[in-house]
């Protein structure tokens, strides 16, 4: 199996997943409506409640919402795979002379497209409620790319989980328990400095914090006069986030593909 035909197989699977975006209402809600809801909810419920010295909390918040939403979006990868495994279609795939990695690669790839749509919708909603990019457009673009890269890496963790659980429902519940604290014990919604010590240390090295910190910087949403963050991770958020994402992919992509092949043989 050469690399090009494996890539082709992955694209065929990705295309199939994208067709579902048009046909399955739940997918549409997940990709389009829930991000709008998040932006409005946080902007109006929290946005006016908390004061950030020298800046607007609503602007501070946006990068956090972006980060949280794309990380949550990764559960979609796992749920999609779990659903495929449950349905008969996977037997068809396994009996075809296609690349063994295509189903997993195709899924993570199509979820990048989902995330692009989600981010576009959220950014538009954000602009409407008053969020502004205050840095250069190139930096902002880098910010979005960083969000996509990190979400892609989390997709691989979720892919492994999705192939290990008996049903999509289990995955949704299980991942909620992990992702919820991961995105909250971070600087997503409040500055990390204000947390109690143990949580603060966790938050300072949490790659979701560095992701949010990096996008905040790239969008120019850090209010002037904000003190320099304490941890190396948050002082060099782009490098730290990119390294974490690469590490996660390097570890979890082979595990997920191996898992798929093993599950395929066991049934």
């Amino acid at each position: 199996m050469n690399f090009l035909s494996a890539l082709g197989d992955g694209l065929v699977i990705a295309r199939r997943n994208l067709i579902k975006l048009k046909r399955v209402p739940e997918v549409l809600v997940f990709v389009l409506l829930s991000p709008i809801m998040f932006v409005l909810l946080f902007a109006y419920v929290f946005g006016s409640a908390i004061d950030i010295p020298g800046g607007s909390y609503r602007e501070f918040l946006m990068a956090g919402i972006f980060g949280q939403t794309v990380v949550f979006g990764a559960t979609f990868t796992g749920a999609g795979l779990a659903e495929d495994m449950q349905r008969g279609i996977i037997d068809r795939f396994r009996s075809l002379p296609m690349s063994r990695a295509a189903v997993v690669f195709g899924r993570t790839a199509s979820d990048v497209i989902y995330n692009i749509i989600t981010l576009t919708v959220m950014a538009t909603a954000g602009l409407i409620v008053g969020w502004r990019i205050r840095g250069s457009l190139l930096d902002a673009l880098a910010g979005f790319l960083l969000l996509l890269l990190f979400a892609y890496s989390v997709s691989w963790i979720m892919a492994l989980l999705g192939l290990s659980v008996p049903s999509p429902e289990v995955l949704n519940n299980a991942s909620f328990i992990v992702i919820f604290p991961m995105t909250f014990i971070a600087n997503t919604f409040v500055p990390a400095e204000s947390l109690p010590t143990v949580l603060r240390v966790f938050a300072e090295w949490n790659p979701i914090s560095s992701l949010v910190q990096a996008t905040r910087e790239l969008f120019g949403n850090i209010p002037p006069g904000t003190p320099e963050p304490a941890s190396w991770a948050l002082q060099n958020p782009v490098i730290y986030t990119v390294s974490c994402a690469c590490l996660i992919i390097a570890v979890f992509a082979p595990l997920a593909v191996r898992r798929y092949i093993r599950v395929a043989k066991k049934t």
């Binding site: 082709g8 349905r87 008969g88 279609i89 068809r92 396994r94 009996s95 002379p97 296609m98 049934t267």
Partner: protein
């Protein structure tokens, strides 16, 4: 003729459950072989091994001379599979499903498309081609699934219970389609729990039970194995079943089979029409009223009963038929 599918001593265990218990099978080029057996006999497991979906714990298998275990990727290029759970994507249209399968067989974009349209036409799905599969009826889904197995014109086809759960009309329609495949030179291994299906389609039948082959031969061979003819009598009144049993027991050369629900008793006999006349006289003199009488060759159901002591077709939902009054639904 060349042997296309060959398997020896296949064993597959799931914990305590032995799904395959030393299964041997062989399919010659251009023939249809049916694996016939009740639910849980190991039919699907056998197909899964031969189509590289699972690895057996023991045994060897080849498809077109290629080892299923050491070279599964090569085997996949030569086979088409249609499973019992209609393995198509319900959110995609019929066309998109077949097009995707064609692409994954690496037919190329153009060929995949034209092949998809061609098959949709042939399987009478052209009108529904651009509707999502979830709007299809059960029969349409099965036809699409079967079409999926044919996309690459694979020389070896595996159809796992292709008509289970379909009504008789859809089933006949599928039989017609399946027959045409083999007329075009394909080799086909089919699993079924419908005796009529094996009878209609298969050149050879492998009767399997509890993961083992218990009989093998042409449909006629199998019928000859049980020998003789059958008198089948349906009584008008359920209370007469015991009397009918008694009368037929005297005429029978083997064990009787009865089904209380349909008020039927079947007796293997050797005397043909002469025997039938005597039996009818006995019924007359005992004043047992009959609503149906048949003298016939043994069916595959009789074969199955004789081999396993249980009925294949009825094992799914009803207890195996036995002498009336002892068991069965609606008794007493």
């Amino acid at each position: 003729m060349k042997e296309i599918i060959h398997a020896t001593g296949l064993v597959k265990r799931y914990g305590e459950v032995v799904a395959l218990d030393g299964l041997d099978l062989s399919v010659r080029e251009g023939t249809i072989v049916a694996l016939l057996g009740p639910n849980g006999a190991g039919k699907t497991t056998a197909v899964s091994v031969l189509t590289t979906l699972i690895e057996p714990d023991e045994g060897t298998a080849t498809v077109a001379g290629i080892d299923v275990l050491s070279d599964p990727a090569e085997v996949r290029k030569l086979i088409g599979l249609s499973g019992q759970y209609a393995a198509v994507d319900r959110d995609l249209t019929g066309f998109e499903n077949l097009d995707m399968i064609g692409r994954l067989y690496h037919l190329g974009r153009k060929k995949a498309r034209s092949r998809a349209r061609e098959l949709l036409d042939r399987f009478d799905l052209a009108d529904a081609a651009d509707r999502p599969v979830k709007t299809y009826s059960g029969g349409m889904r099965r036809r699409l699934d079967l079409a999926g197995a044919l996309v690459a014109e694979s020389p070896v086809l595996f159809l796992d219970e292709p008509t289970t759960g379909l009504d008789l009309i859809s089933r006949r329609e599928l039989w017609r389609l399946i027959r045409t495949l083999v007329d075009q030179g394909a080799t086909l291994l089919l699993t079924t729990q419908y005796l009529e299906e094996a009878d209609r389609l298969a050149d050879d039948v492998l009767v399997i039970d509890k993961g083992k082959t218990i009989a093998h031969g042409t449909v006629d061979d199998l019928k000859d194995m049980v020998g003789g003819e059958r008198i089948e009598i349906k009584v008008t009144d359920r209370d007469d079943l015991a009397a009918a049993h008694e009368i037929l027991e005297n005429a029978a050369v083997g064990d009787l089979q009865g089904d209380e629900r349909s008020r039927t008793v079947v007796a293997p006999v050797s005397g043909g029409t002469r025997e039938l006349g005597e039996v009818l006289e006995a019924f007359e003199s005992h004043r047992v009223r009959i609503s149906e009488v048949v003298l016939r060759r043994p069916t595959l159901d009789d074969v199955f009963l004789a081999l396993t002591g249980a009925s294949a077709e009825s094992s799914e939902e009803t207890p195996a038929p036995a002498k009336p009054g002892r068991r069965g639904r609606g008794s007493r």
